[in-house]
Symmetry: none
C-alpha cells in the first residue's frame, strides 16, 4: 500500500516534471499532469497541496543545491591573478556544476528557463549578474590595463550569460557523464581563450 502510494506519487512527479519542462509553470495544467499520470485531476491533491507545492517539491531541492554550491564557491575568494582566475573557473564548473547537470538536468532547465510565474522566475537573471560581477571583479586589473569602458562591462554580461546558456545546453542535450565532462572542458577552454582574446 505504501508502495502503491509511492508509485502514484512518482507518476505525478514525473508527469509534472515533463510538463513543467515542456510548457513552463504557468502553461502546465493540473489536468494534463493528471492525464499523463493516468489519474483524476482531483487525486493530485491527495499528494500535493496545490500546483505551487507540486512545483516547489520538485524544484526546491535542486535550487538549494545550486544555491549552496554558489555560496561556497564564489563568495569566498579575493582578487585573483589571471591564472588563478581561470583555474577557479575550471574547478567550479568542471565538478560541482557538472554534478548538477548529470543528476538534475531537467530541474535545472526548469529553474532557469521555465519558471515564469514562480518565485524563481528571476533566478537566472540574478545568477548571470552574480557571475558577471565575479568576472568583472576578478579581471578588473586586466581591464584597466587596456580600455575600461562600459562596452567591456556589457560584453562581460554576455559572456556570463553565455556560460550559463552553454551549461544549460549541456543539460538540455544530456548524453552521458563523460560527454558532459569533456564538453565542459571544451567550453571552459573556449571561454578562457575568448576572454583572454579581448585584452590583446
Amino acid at each position: 500500500m505504501q508502495l502503491k502510494k509511492e508509485k502514484i506519487k512518482k507518476r505525478i512527479e514525473n508527469a509534472a516534471r515533463e510538463d513543467f519542462l515542456e510548457y513552463g509553470f504557468t502553461k502546465t495544467s493540473m489536468r494534463n499532469i493528471a492525464k499523463k499520470a493516468k489519474i483524476s485531476t482531483s487525486n493530485i491533491y491527495n499528494y500535493f497541496k496545490n500546483k505551487d507545492y507540486l512545483f516547489y517539491s520538485l524544484i526546491d531541492p535542486v535550487y538549494n543545491k545550486i544555491k549552496n554550491l554558489l555560496l561556497n564557491l564564489f563568495d569566498t575568494e579575493e582578487n585573483l591573478g589571471e591564472n588563478e582566475f581561470f583555474k577557479q573557473i575550471s574547478d567550479v564548473f568542471a565538478h560541482p556544476v557538472g554534478e548538477i547537470i548529470k543528476e538534475n538536468a531537467k530541474e535545472l532547465i526548469i529553474i532557469m528557463d521555465r519558471s515564469e510565474g514562480t518565485k524563481y522566475e528571476n533566478f537566472k537573471e540574478k545568477l548571470v549578474e552574480t557571475i558577471e560581477s565575479h568576472f568583472t571583479d576578478s579581471i578588473v586589473h586586466e581591464m584597466k590595463a587596456i580600455d575600461n569602458d562600459l562596452n567591456h562591462k556589457f560584453v562581460m554580461h554576455i559572456i556570463a550569460n553565455n556560460l550559463l546558456e552553454g551549461l544549460l545546453e549541456l543539460a538540455k542535450h544530456y548524453k552521458n557523464e563523460k560527454w558532459v565532462d569533456s564538453n565542459i572542458e571544451l567550453l571552459i577552454k573556449y571561454h578562457i581563450k575568448g576572454i583572454s582574446g579581448l585584452f590583446n
Copy 2:
C-alpha cells in the same frame, strides 16, 4: 496624414508588441492588448482575424528579413579557409544582423524567446542548427586536422547558440546604434578567439 483607421491599427500593434514581448504569445490576452490600445476587445477583430494573425502580422516581416539574410549569406558559399571564414562571420554579423537589432529588436526577441504556441516556437532552435552546420562545415578541415569527434560537434552547437544569445542580449539591452556596433565587434572577436583556441 494618417487615417484614424491606421492610427488605431498602430495602437493595437504597439500594444500587442509590448505584451507579446513581456508575456509571450500564450500569456498575452486580447483583453489586455485592447485595454492598452484603449479600444474594445472586440474591435481588435475588425483589424486582425484573430490572435494568431495579429501575432504573425507583427512577426512575419521580421521573420522574412532574417530568413532572407540567412539564405543570402550562409547558403551560398563553399568551404572556406580559416581567415575567410572569420571574415565572413564578421561581415554577416556586423552589418545585416546589426541592422535587425537596431530596427527590430522587439520583434527579434519575440521570435526567438516569446513565441511558444506559435509556428515560430522552434525557430531559434532551427537557426542555431543552421549556424552550427555552417560553422562545422566551414572549419571541417581544421577539425579533421585535430580530433574530429562528436564532442567538437556539440561545442559547435553551444557556440552557435551563444552567438545567437549574445545578439539577443544586445537586442534586450539596446542602448544605441554605436553601442550595438562596438559590442558586436567585441562579441565576434571573443568568439573568433574562442573558436581558434579550441584547435590549438
Copy 3:
C-alpha cells in the same frame, strides 16, 4: 471503562459539534472534523453513515427534548386569564427551557441558527409560530377588549421571536447555571411588562 471505539466516536461528535456551531451545517467539512478529531476523513464513515447522519445523531436528541417539552406544556391548556398566562410563561421558561440551555446550549444554537441545509432549517421559524399562536390564543380576550387588528398579531410574532432570541443569546453567552436563572427571570419580567404595556 470507555472502549476505544466509543472514545473515537466521542471525538468525532465533539469535533463535529464545534464545527457545526462555528460554521453551520453546509460550511462544515468532513475533512475538518476529521482533522479536529485526529482521525482520517474516511474513518468517520465507519461511525456515521454520512454527514447528514452525523448531524442528526448530534441534534435529534435535543430536538426531541425541545419537541416534547413544547408538546407537554403548550399544547394542553385552555384559555387562561392574564395572571395564569404569565405564571405559565414563567414556569415553562424558568425550568424546562432553562435545563436545555444549561445542558445543551451548543445543540440548541445549532438547531436554531446553524441548520441551513438540514431538515431543521425551518424549525426556529415554526417554533416562533407555535409560541406566537399560544400567546395570541391565550390573551385573545384581552386583545378583543382593545383593538384586535393584524398589527397586534404581528407584534406578537415579534415578541415570540424575541423571546426565543433572548434565550438563544443566553445559550450563546452561557456563563453558569445561576447566571442563566437570573437572566431568564429578568427576561420574563421584561416581556410580561412589555406585553402588559401593549394593552394599556
Copy 4:
C-alpha cells in the same frame, strides 16, 4: 442597446439579491445566479468583476445609509433623563429606521443575517453592542438606583438584540408602509414598558 444592457444587469442584480437573501453570500453560487437570470455564468463577469463586487454593489449603498443614520443619531447626545431617552428611541426608530425597512428591506436582511464571508459578517454584532452601550449609558442613573450588577448589563444586551431582531422581522415580513409604521410604534411601546418594568 443601453436598454438591453441595463435590463440584463437588473436581472443579475435581482437574481443575486434573491439568492444572497435565501442562501447567504457563501452558499450563493454564480452558477445559480446566472441560471436564475437566464444567462451564462461567464456573462455575469461582463457586468460585475467578481462575486464580491456583485455583492457589495448591492449592499454597500444600504450599508452606508445605515452607517450615516447611526452616526447622526446616536453619537451626538448627552446623558438623558428617562423621558428624553424614550423619546429619542421613538424618533430614531420611527422614522429613519422605518425608511430603510420600507425601501431596502432585502438588503437590510442580507447585511444583518446573510453576510457571512463578507466584510459585513460582524456588523450586526457590532450594531447590537452600539445600541447596548447607548442604552446602558443613557439609563445608567436608573440602574444605579436599583441594583447595578452584570445581569442587568446582559439583559440590556438581549434587549438591544431584540430591538434589532424585531426590526428585521418587520423587514422580513414587509407588508406596506403603514404596516411598518404602526408596528414600529407598538414595538417601541413594548420595549419602553419592558425596560421600565425592569426597574420597578
